[in-house]
Amino acid sequence: MKKFGVIFQYELMNYIKNKSYVITTVIIALVAGIIMFVPNFIDIGSVTGENKNDVSDENSGADSDSTILVYDKSGMVTDISFIQNFYHDDAIKKASGENELVDKVKADEVSAGFVVNSLTDYDYYVYNQSMTDDNQVVFTQVMTVLNQMVYCQKNGIDYASLTQAFNPQIDCHENILGKDMGSNYWYCYGLVMIIFMIIIMYGSMVATSVTQEKSNRTMEVLVTSVDTNLLFFAKVLAGAVAALIQSAVMLGTVLISYKINQDKWGGMLNMVLDIPANVLVVFALFGIGGFLFYTFIYGAMGALVSKTEDINKSAGGVQMVIMIVYFITLASLTNVDGIMIKVTSFLPVSSYSAMFARVAMGSVNTWEIVVSFIILVASIVVVGIIGAKIYRMGTLRYGNPIKLSNAFKSIKEN
């Protein structure tokens, strides 16, 4: 155990003393921390365009740079301000003719144009349609109301009282007894992405460290000096701890800085950064577990090649699995109680993100969490032992990358 401590300390210091590690950690944490303090110095609403002190002005569209032209062929739209009431961000102006409207849209002088053919028919003109364009939806609403008003007028019905009768004000008091998927979605999405990035980034780092020892021929000295299992486990765990320290410093700085300045942000980032403690604990446990699971695999993959440029050849398959798990989990976030995520939350290759997502957003029993965690821990031990054997087997095998099947064959023979 003493030797394990010596190797662990040496390997950890290798990471921590590394200039790029220190610079990256300090700069990212500093920048992220400073950003969280920004609302103390400037009005954050002016930056994001969400000024919380603004009072909605129904006629604000009149001052807008964006203009929508309307040409009424039917003669039913007598008052243009009626349409303006529906468009708060655009100025509504009348066009003198259909050609003028089309020309101005084509020349990009106005953002869009409507030609009203009758009470139930209109043409919409736009040059480049954006993905979030809702002008047609709003204009259809305008025409619907116009139709209703004309109908009431023709039949001697008071439109105002009819509207009130058909649209009574309903008060709803929301009481969420379980989890609010809407608000949990974003931080869950963010954390799944973070753990994915940590695994890919630091896994490659551990693989590189193993391959470097092989390429500079240090490995033979090491494996003849100390038990390979100790060497491999200490090496991988040191890489894992270095990763956790860096992630904890960065994430911790962001979370603490945000907590300090939460009021100043007006809760704007709550959906991303206001993460409940129990979710953070599950994220930490499964995240660390998943990370260790993959880091052991990366370490073994590093031993299969003798040049750092070949690491992608041996670790490519692992990266593919990690990416597939990532996309499956993200796709399942909208249905966290579905069968797919239930299955993946028990598999060691995917439970690190799937089980965490279920805990954060879905319904999950305590026994399920415990069983999944036990499977994950057992898998880490098994993968660690097999990884150490591959590491040992790959010690003096230089040249072309060793195929995984050949590696298992060699282990079996020994």
């Binding site: 500079n216 021929r217 240090t218 003849t224």
Partner: protein, 311 residues
């Protein structure tokens, strides 16, 4: 302590590279492992160090199965390797500690060996900034940092200039004097000859000769003489012996200035001399043949190769 290698075999895939290697070495004695490139020396050493597992056979220390982790071993692998971007002292202390000595001991030993090998001034330099020869010395110092009981050096002289080779020879002599087991492989016979009590010659995975070097030399030179004549070339002398003295002498080889002859009829030296005189040969040199290790090596490895070619 007595380290015994008993009948080890090793195959890589379908190719068998060791066919039953056996030898033994004791404390205070150095064993030279000799052989041509690819003979199986490094594989044997790697099996000794448990880098490879033998297919059969065993390695014993004082009659017990040799457990490398329970003993302090200084191993200098053929493929030299340390951390190029690390400071010399830093990695030496690390290597000492993972072999089981304390930090303070590792620091003291590192400085001692760096000083002994004349590279103490580089203790805080990164390894990659040192010359190849100095890196080699650092590697040797790292091998000895744990004050090992067993020292295994694979081709320790390769890459060293004559001055550094001399320093290494002195170090090896010191280790032998400290009653340690020293095993090393080398192509340079002169070094092996100088301080090895025992030798093992491996050829194509077989031990072709092993034992006490003095005895081997004595046995190899038994009934053999070196002879040269005044005013006669070696070719002339060889012709005379073949034509007139083949009943008692056989030519077994030649050095630069002498013929090596074997007394095949077990006659006395006086009779041989009389024969030369009767042939009117004026003898310049006539003495017992003392073979060099190089002669023995070439003879044994050459014989084995010739036999194989004949088969």
């Amino acid at each position: 302590m007595k380290l015994e290698v008993k009948d080890i075999t090793k195959s890589f895939g379908d190719k068998q590279v060791l066919h039953g290697i056996s030898f033994e070495v004791q404390s205070g004695r150095a064993l030279g492992l000799l052989g041509r490139n690819g003979a199986g020396k490094t594989t044997t050493i790697r099996i000794l160090m448990d880098v490879f597992r033998a297919n059969s056979g065993e390695v014993l220390l004082d009659g017990e199965k040799f457990n490398q982790r329970k003993h302090l071993i200084g191993y200098l692998p053929e493929e030299r390797g340390l951390y190029p971007k690390k400071k010399v002292i830093e990695q030496m202390v690390y290597l000492g500690r993972i072999r089981g000595i304390s930090k303070s001991e590792a620091v003291a030993n590192s400085k001692k060996w760096l000083k002994r090998l004349g590279v103490l001034e580089y203790e805080n330099a990164k390894l990659e900034t040192l010359s190849k020869g100095n890196q080699q010395k650092v590697q040797l110092a790292s091998t000895l940092v744990c004050d090992p009981d067993i020292v295994i050096l694979d081709e320790p002289f390769s890459g060293l200039d004559p001055v550094n080779s001399r320093i290494l020879q002195d170090v090896v002599m010191e280790l032998i004097g400290q009653n340690k087991i020293v095993i090393f492989s080398s192509h340079q016979m002169s070094y092996v000859e100088e301080f090895c009590k025992d030798i093992v010659i491996i050829n194509k995975g077989d031990v072709v000769l092993s034992g006490d070097l003095d005895n081997i030399k004595r046995e190899f030179g038994k009934n053999q003489l070196v002879v040269s004549a005044v005013d006669k070339t070696l070719d002339d002398l060889e012709n005379i012996i073949n034509e007139h003295m083949s009943d008692i002498l056989e030519i077994t080889g030649r050095t630069k200035e002498e013929l090596i002859i074997k007394n095949v009829a077990d006659v006395s030296r006086k009779q041989i001399l009389s024969k030369f005189i009767s042939e009117n040969i004026e003898i310049e040199r006539f003495e017992t043949y003392k073979p060099s290790l190089n002669d023995i090596f070439v003879s044994k490895v050459g014989d084995a190769d010739e036999k194989e070619a004949a088969e």
